[in-house]
């Protein structure tokens, strides 16, 4: 492998039902940053059937070039034709970096492609940088420059590792959705669109799609929720949980509660967090009007970020909260909901 032959940052522009997934634009945004550091371009690889129109949107978010692989075999996602498409693009265009979203599709596709072309793949990255490997010079070992340094959590989030792929190209990573930022949209921006079809001949690796079932979103189990808005006795009444429901709706969060709330009959048992309820570990845990009895803390202290709102500044919940606000939840929570609405509206 002649590493010097490999140039440019490529990203997989995931689309579903001919709509670009959010991760596609996030990867274009991040790819653009990396391309700048490497003094090269970012290329989006658009794979599907009848998806040519999406190229302009990729351009508007910063893609310099779009490689379009358009074929009827690619209408619905299937591992084999998609893997063949990406592997063929890599063989032909030889990018130095290839990013894929760590979505259900990307985490299926990425490993298959990396295995086919024999390179490394770092999963679920939360940070990508261009730098040296080894990071600090090691006697007797050549320090390589302009390497992709891929950072990811491991061991259930207990450790953080930075990975490099010095001897193989492209350097491949899947990137966790929602972590990288999209670039600001530039209306009317155009990218060079290049069509490429490697040919698709079904073989034993092609699976047959018998049915596509779009599932209705069920209520989320509190153990699976990414954000929990959890209320305690301090909420005051079952009716007043409305302010928590509103906050949860804005954040796409799920409402949970403490034992006192279940005992009072305000909420069902399956929403209870704590030793006698469920153990949760969301990305964000809002503890609202929860004093923080030991048995409650045992069920939620592993949450990534704990935000507590309580009027009692001696409440034990503040011992585990990352951010504790001593204040009146009846005022803070509705105001927070309104602000979030505004913030999220601006962002879109």
């Amino acid at each position: 492998m002649n590493i010097a032959e490999y140039k440019g940052v490529f990203v997989f522009a995931q689309q579903v039902d001919n709509k670009l997934s959010g991760i596609a634009l996030e990867l274009v945004g991040k790819g653009k940053d990396l391309a700048k550091d490497l003094n090269t371009e970012v290329t989006a690889v658009l794979v599907g059937y009848g998806v040519k129109d999406l190229a302009d949107e990729l351009a508007a978010y910063g893609a310099d070039k779009v490689i379009l692989v358009d074929d009827p075999e690619l209408k619905e996602y299937r591992t084999e034709p998609y893997a063949h498409a990406l592997a063929s693009v890599i063989e032909k265009y030889k990018p130095e970096i290839f990013l894929v979203g760590a979505t259900a599709i990307g985490r299926d596709l990425g490993p298959r492609v990396s295995a086919r072309i024999h390179t490394g793949l770092t999963a679920d990255c939360t940070q990508l940088d261009i730098g040296d490997f080894p990071i600090n010079p090691v006697p007797g070992k050549e320090q390589l420059h302009n390497q992709l340094l891929m950072t990811r959590p491991a061991f259930g989030g207990n450790t953080i590792a930075t990975i490099a792929c010095p001897q193989f190209r492209p350097q491949m990573a899947t990137v966790r959705p929602g972590v990288m930022q999209k670039a600001p949209k530039v209306e009317g921006a155009k990218a060079v669109v290049e069509e490429f079809n490697p040919g698709f001949t079904p073989d034993n690796k092609y699976v047959e799609i018998l049915e596509v079932v779009k599932s209705v979103v069920d209520t989320v189990d509190i153990m699976d929720a990414k954000i929990l808005v959890s209320g305690g006795r301090g909420v005051g009444s079952p009716e007043n949980f409305k302010i928590l429901d509103d906050l949860a709706e804005v954040l796409g969060a799920t409402v949970s509660c403490s034992r006192a709330v279940v005992d009072a009959g305000w909420k069902p048992k399956d929403l209870q967090v704590g030793q006698t309820g469920k153990t949760v570990r969301p990305n964000v845990y809002f503890a609202i009007g929860i004093s923080g009895a030991i048995q409650h803390l045992a069920g939620m202290e592993e949450s990534d970020i704990i935000i507590a709102i309580n009027k009692d500044d001696t409440a034990p919940i503040f011992d585990v909260a990352d951010y504790g606000i001593v204040g009146d939840l009846n005022k803070v929570v509705p105001a927070l909901t309104e602000r979030l609405k505004a913030e999220l509206a601006n962002k879109n």
Partner: protein, 383 residues
Amino acid sequence: MDFMLTKQHEMARTLFREFAEKEVKPLAQEVDETEVFPRGTVEKMAKAGFMGIPVPKEYGGQGCDILTYAMCVEELSKVCGTTGVIVSAHTSLCCDPILTYGTEEQKQKYLPDLASGRKIGAFGLTEPGAGTDAQGQQTKAVLDGDEWVLNGSKIFITNGKEADVYVIFAVTGMVEKRGRMSKEITAFIVEKGTPGFTFGTKEKKMGIRGSSTYELIFTDCRIPKENILGQQGKGFGIAMHTLDGGRIGIASQALGLAEGALERTVEYVKERKQFGRAIGQFQNTQFQLADMATKVEAAQLLVYKAAIAKNTQKVYSVEAAKAKLYAAEVAMEVTTKAVQLHGGYGYTREYDVERMMRDAKITEIYEGTSEVQRMVISGALLK
């Protein structure tokens, strides 16, 4: 002398602990509160093979040793005393006597269903006038043609109304023994649904409240002649020998309760703060915990020794009595101290130690009170 458990036993403990934590612990409080027999848990235990651990494979059991069975009762009791005694009474008091004294036909007929947990077993010896003094039996069985006719009642029967197969003791006559007339007692297998076999009142108990403790009533209850267990007149020996085994189960239950209470307390004293520091930092707490842990381990060694003795010795009455006596008293002491170290919270039903203390008390009473165990132990010393 080797105090190391084998890898098999270690893995079995992992299994029992995982099952107890996942399937039993979440229900323990509710089972206690509602006094409802945990039928769903028994079905899960049946599927996992817990209802026939020491029963040989040829009879549909797991073919494991008594130590494995004792560890199962121990781990279940760590989180729920009720669940522990369900397995103990079923295995030690029903499967075991059928296995030991049953004919091949009886074993083939009853053990596969019992060992797989499709059916539950119970044991009926105690009567209103015959507790510690088992000779006080009043229930009678009279042979009438090809059937035995049972009349009388049994009380405090664990798994009472939930069981399907019962080992029942009844007086079948009088015999002369060393110049005195005494009752001839015989064991029988009685199936639920036999006409004349009904249930009386359900006991409301201090602890192990989810176990189904009932009075069994026999009114001209006719059972086939072949349902006699062992020989006619050998019932007293069968009862005593069965209880030797049962005591290992109850000792395991007591041990589990003590261990469970100790575990909860260790967690609690690290979290609970008074006077600005965790109460685990006070020497009083530390010394109490040290005593508790030492006694718990001593109890464990006695229980395991008795369990191994049942596999390796013909007679293990003294080992079983010592294990049960000590483990039960340690359970009572450790759970009481656990409540004390929990303070006011420990007295509330919010915390498991309150239930454990109530559950522990029965281990000093059933399947031979602590006083009976002392009689057995001293009797052997002074023989």
